[in-house]
Symmetry: none
Subunit: 273 residues, 2 copies
């Protein structure tokens, strides 16, 4: 218990750790502990199976109370990441998704660069056995994979969080004068767009929902059994673009304009912008 209250003296912020449908309180606790090891404290839980708060989580956290106490619970992944501007999904294998794949080290560099630029970031972790569902992965801007042996590739939840936290914290440790950890270069793989801010997940998701509703009305997302895959592939195109808030407004305008083009017959004029 003692010791945890200094966590905030570490560099502020850091990525949110989003555990999607975690099953055992114990695993949430050990994940919280791994976060505390590396100065992370924004823990978000999506529909934890055994409810929240959890005594077994508190016990397993062995003193990382601050992280456990501050955890927030959300009903859906979309709600959990609504305020985030850059989201990574951890997976054990490459999915057939049109998304960049990063190592943990690359992911940490990207997260640091974006946090340094004032963006809000987060990392999704799936259920203990099954990992993230495709519908969760699709919400992310990129996939993170750890380099584990193909002969024994299963990392438990806390271990996956530990590796992300470790790589995140490595360059921070330098600034605290630890001689053991030389500087790591901060590079950023995504685009940096002057004068704009990256869109939040909520803004992007609102656009997706609006677009998908229009496409449903057009009969484009048909037949129903193919709809989920079609929606994922469309979302992936736009997620890769790392949309800014201005981009999202432009895209809304484009959708309105295209719909109006078809409807111009009736109203005889252009759409909104």
């Amino acid at each position: 218990m003692a010791g945890t209250d200094r966590t905030r003296e570490q560099p502020e912020g850091g990525p949110a750790i989003v555990l999607v449908e975690p099953q055992l309180g114990e695993n949430i606790g050990t994940a919280a502990r791994a976060m505390a090891n590396f100065g992370l404290d924004d823990l978000r839980l999506v529909a934890p199976r055994d409810g929240w708060p959890s005594m077994s989580a508190v016990r397993a956290a062995s003193g990382a109370d601050r992280v456990v106490d501050g955890a927030r619970v959300f009903a859906t992944t979309e709600e959990a990441i609504a305020d985030l501007q850059f989201v990574l999904a951890t997976t054990a294998r490459t999915r057939d998704m049109a998304k960049p794949v990063m190592s943990v080290a690359e992911a940490a560099r990207e997260l640091r660069a974006r946090e340094a630029a004032g963006e809000r970031t987060g990392v999704l972790f799936g259920r203990e056995k099954a990992g993230l569902k495709n519908d969760d992965v699709v919400l992310a801007h990129a996939i993170v994979m750890a380099p584990v042996s193909p002969a024994f590739a299963s990392l438990n939840l806390a271990q996956a969080v530990l590796l992300v936290g470790y790589e995140w914290y490595k360059p921070v440790a330098t600034t605290f004068g630890d001689p053991a950890f030389g500087p790591a270069p901060v590079t950023r793989t995504g685009p940096r767009i002057p004068g704009t801010r990256t869109a939040t997940s909520e803004e992007v998701l609102n656009f997706f929902r609006r677009l998908e509703q229009a496409l449903d009305e057009a009969g484009f997302l048909y037949p129903p059994e193919k709809r989920p895959a079609m929606v994922r592939s469309i979302r992936n195109i736009f997620q890769r673009a790392n949309l800014t808030e201005q981009d999202v407004r432009t895209l809304h305008g484009i959708v309105s304009a295209l719909i109006a083009t078809g409807g111009a017959c009736r109203r005889g004029e252009g759409g909104d912008r």
Copy 2:
């Protein structure tokens, strides 16, 4: 259980993991599991408190049987490291010892270089709470410290093993052709997407022209003096996505569908919203 027997197909050797006076079988099991994750299989136990073999170790190893089964027990640390040529000691804090202090990453580099040169290496991990005794640390050639937050610095045994294994395995993964873990590019402007081909400029430009024509008809790219900047910003959104040939076809379909949706309003259905 299946899967562990391929461990030895991974690069041979690797440092011995020496657990000095581990207390709980469960911690030995989770440490063994962390070893298997990173292709390590030489587990050595110095005077495990609860004896050996241990059913709780087997259970906690969740399938890393080969590592647990192959573990060797020694009475003293000196015996455990007798055949090793280079030994590192993990500690949570710098001791007052005239020894080099390495980060986990530096330690992994050193271990790799020595293993490559034919030396036998090992890493010492202390008891769960107390860590290594000074008499054990003194046997090592250097000290390894993980960069943990001073606010919450306790790593459990398996986590410490995990970090060492992770850094050890990182460059190995590269040589096994995992696309996710190549040498990190200094800058990467676009995503690497498995199983698709990037669209040609011609394909992308055809889409742009078609979209812009539709937006002209909708009066969206207005007034004329602002049109060039608007076109550029729209093109930028899609260019950042590094479109594949399939993406371009999907986008054409979306434009057609949205225009058709608008057309439906003529027939009495809803317009945009």
